[in-house]
Symmetry: C2
Subunit: 106 residues, 2 copies
């Protein structure tokens, strides 16, 4: 799903990953994290795609909301497991969305 209802400024976390173990446990944890993220204060939306690499972009009201989510206990545990078991490489970028344009076919 494309997130198309937001008004800048707000924040984006671009999380790009290469997985080495695409196990059931990984998928279950990724789904659980998405479910948890959606319940956090300041969460605005998420977009996700995977082919050679995975890209998940989550949108947030403020840097504080991103920090809170980073320090969430279950999220911290999942991150540690991810480094140990599932991820070969990842890059995480915290960005301020300054402008945005949308197009939708009628």
């Amino acid at each position: 799903m494309i997130v198309a209802h937001l008004k800048p400024p707000y924040y984006a976390v671009i999380f790009t990953t290469i997985i080495e173990d695409n196990s059931k446990e990984y998928k279950k944890t990724a789904e659980r994290m998405e479910h948890l993220a959606k319940a956090q204060d300041g969460f605005l939306g998420v977009e996700s795609a995977r082919s050679d690499i995975g890209i998940t972009v989550s949108y947030w009201k403020s840097l504080e909301a991103i920090q809170h989510w980073k320090h969430h206990v279950e999220h911290s545990e999942a991150r540690a497991l991810g480094k140990e078991k599932w991820y070969k490489q990842y890059q995480l970028r915290i960005c301020k969305v300054e402008r945005e344009y949308g197009f939708k076919k009628k």
Copy 2:
């Protein structure tokens, strides 16, 4: 490929798409645009994935570099064709990358 060598601050363009016509012509044009983008001044890198939706994130040195690329003649023509023929929906976000963290398994 994950882009992992950049130092904030710099800019990201998050381009999220739903395609209605995944034709050869679309793929050829998308490849040509990636090739052209890489040749622009201020281009820093690109990451791309597609499953239900496509997410392409390109990285740029400055807002001016993004504007130049936006107004590139061949890019403008491709964008017009895209709206007419290939895209059902898209969202384009211009962001300032403020912080970044990376992980790579040894």
